[in-house]
């Protein structure tokens, strides 16, 4: 079986491990439903793995996922993580300006468009949310 089959189970197990380790101090009524959901998730994941294994044993053709180049996607995600950190430290205006410039430099866009889009987006959102709706940015 390809290793990618274990990605979702690994995430689920990590989440449920945290879940189970944080639940025990609670009373029975608070625990009933989360435990039921958690055990159901474990059951479904086990069933999914069993089915995959049986299909692999039978020699059934597993359709490979389409070939992709995940580098750009992960680069984009890295930029998003950086944006969150900047948002925390500098606030919306500065963080968004830096993020937009950086993102449009990494995925190249001509300079005049880069500047125009950055200034236009930040100004429009600031005017709408900060000015009109009175949200502190």
């Amino acid at each position: 079986m390809p290793l990618s089959v274990f990605v979702v189970p690994a995430i689920v197990l990590a989440w449920l491990g945290t879940y189970f380790s944080l639940l025990p101090p609670l009373r029975a009524q608070s625990l009933m439903f989360p435990r039921f959901v958690a055990w159901s998730i474990l059951g479904i994941v086990a069933l999914l793995l069993l089915l995959q294994w049986l299909r692999a044993r039978k020699g059934e053709l597993v359709v490979p996922p389409p070939a992709v180049d995940p580098k750009s996607a992960w680069l984009f995600y890295g930029l998003c993580v950086g944006y969150v950190a900047l948002f925390w430290l500098l606030g919306f205006v500065a963080a968004s300006t830096i993020y937009l410039i950086a993102a449009m430099t990494v995925f190249p866009v001509r300079w005049p468009i880069r500047i125009g889009v950055t200034v236009g987006t930040v100004a429009a959102l600031y005017a709408l949310f900060g000015g009109l709706f009175g949200i502190p940015l």
């Binding site: 990618s4 009933m32 998003c80 925390w88 937009l100 993102a103 995925f107 001509r110 949200i135």
Partner: protein, 498 residues
């Protein structure tokens, strides 16, 4: 009708148009639901006459439900949870170059559904209100279980993955304080999580970041890269006409939305997903769902808009607000000295008839507004991904932040994006996660309430006739999903052979 014609005023018509325009605009912004949008406009509404304020607020509510479908169709990012079901086929239509058609479909089905639900509100309110009152905690619990069977049909070939998505959503919805003892559950000691994982930011990240990452998988984007699109006017007219070609999905969506909307606490998300499931189960081509079929857009959009009229039924006839938005409306009515309840229809019938007349006009305005949006906004898909991606993320981030003005929520959005991308890559439907998150807390509440009522006797879920009917529907739904999966597997095997 004569009563209405004699009371028609240009100023109130203008207020209805303003309400629709504000609703569509706010609905299209990430993170603004019906309740939040109405709350923002509350100071304006309180300064109006009773009729004008109700026309204004209800048209905002209707506009928000339509507006939420616009980013769902264009960007694969639902404006609110009720529009999450529209993503499945609406966004696929956009990727197939039919953005204008998809937008026109959402506008026309929203208009018809809105008009249908207002007519239902006027004509069958007492009957529907009585039906809604028959629902106690056990019936609501079984109704939610019925809603969960939707998961089996979202991905009929991957029933287990659909259910897994729903359960993951439910487990996330359990974070926060529990409904029984108000004890902290999986909050990691973070005060930002006491009220649970914020739904709006989570939804935005799950769809928006995951969608953008998926678009970028094809390699680094260029400035010239764009999606093929049909022309605005032709596509809009085609889409509007197409709505009536799939009249089955349209009528079904209207009925489902009105009935679900009349149940206090149910709401647009459940209505949209249930309608999508029924449309898929009854369609002659269920295999086309998820690939960009118009039925997959019409059914959920009709349902989530007919919820508006449906939600007015318990609010006006019983004085029970079924949602946050309905509660705001009820507050405004009380502010103006109107007492929602069974006597309202007797004492204020002319006012209610006039209100219904303006709401019908609001629906027509929505079709006009939607047609205009479809003609011009489809151009968003022409913006290269290298520009659109970062701009969408900034827009989503401010939408996530605006709810509680917490930078933490932007972090939640980005975290949800990673989860969404991973689940998407592994064919776990994101719509299932959303449905699980929406239904989880209500499911737990009703389960605990029912067991408290019965002294931990589980047979309470099988005692009332309504529960039994709902269990029957659940069995039918699961059986139908299995049959559908078999049919799809057969078709899938036949295609490579051919």
């Amino acid at each position: 009708m004569i009563e209405f014609m004699s009371q028609i005023s240009i100023a109130t018509l203008g207020i209805a148009a303003l309400g629709v325009a504000i609703g569509v605009f706010l609905g299209a912004l990430p993170g603004f639901g019906g309740g939040a949008s109405m709350a923002i406009c509350l100071p304006l509404a309180l300064a109006m006459t009773p009729l004008d304020s109700m026309v204004f607020l209800i048209n905002i509510y209707g506009g928000v439900h339509y507006g939420g479908g616009i980013p769902s169709v264009l960007l694969g990012m639902p404006g609110d949870a009720g529009a999450a079901a529209t993503v499945m086929d609406g966004y696929r239509m956009t990727r197939n170059g039919q953005a204008a058609e998809a937008l026109a479909l959402t506008a026309m089905s929203s208009c018809v559904a809105g008009a249908f639900s207002v007519a239902a509100f006027l004509l069958v309110s007492p009957i529907l209100a009585e039906f809604a009152l028959a629902f106690g905690p056990p019936e609501f619990f079984v109704l939610i279980v019925f809603g969960l069977t939707v998961l089996a049909s979202i991905e009929s070939l991957n029933v287990l993955r659909g259910i897994l998505g729903g359960l993951i959503g439910m487990s996330i919805s359990m974070v926060g304080t529990d409904p029984y003892w108000a004890a902290e559950r999986v909050t990691f000691g973070l005060p930002q999580l006491y009220e649970g994982v914020p739904f709006g930011p989570f939804l935005l990240g799950l769809f928006c970041i995951a969608q953008m990452m998926e678009l970028l998988e094809g390699g680094p984007p260029t400035e010239e890269q764009e999606v093929k699109v049909s022309t605005g006017l032709g596509g809009t007219i085609r889409g509007m006409v197409m709505t009536f070609r799939y009249y089955g999905a349209l009528i079904q969506g209207c009925f489902t939305g009105t009935v679900v909307g009349a149940l206090p606490g149910a709401g647009a998300t459940i209505a949209a997903f249930v309608s999508y499931t029924i449309a898929k189960a009854t369609s002659p081509h269920p295999e086309r769902f998820g690939t960009g079929t118009p039925e997959g857009v019409i059914a959920p959009e009709a349902a989530n808009n007919s919820v508006v009229g449906g939600a007015l039924i318990p609010t006006f006839t019983l004085g029970i607000p079924g949602s946050g938005a309905a509660a705001i409306l009820m507050g405004v009515m009380m502010f103006h000295g109107l007492r929602p309840g069974p006597r309202l229809f007797l004492e204020q019938l002319p006012l209610i008839q006039t209100l219904a007349g303006y709401l019908l006009i609001g629906c027509l305005l929505m079709a006009f507004c939607g047609g205009t949006v479809a003609m011009f906004f489809y151009r968003i898909t022409r913006i290269p991904i290298a520009i659109l991606g970062p701009v969408v993320i900034v827009g989503a981030a401010i939408g996530a932040y605006a709810g509680r003005t917490e930078p933490f929520d932007v972090g939640i959005m980005v975290g949800a994006g990673l989860l969404g991308y991973t689940l998407n890559r592994n064919k776990v439907p994101l719509a299932g996660v959303v449905l699980g998150m929406v239904l989880g807390p209500a499911c737990e509440d009703y389960l605990i309430q029912s067991l408290e009522m019965s002294g931990d006797d589980w047979s309470i879920f099988f005692q009332s006739p309504l529960c039994l009917v709902l269990w029957g529907l659940i069995a039918l739904s699961l059986f139908g999903a299995q049959m559908l999966a078999k049919r799809e597997r057969k078709l899938a095997n036949r295609i490579p052979a051919a």
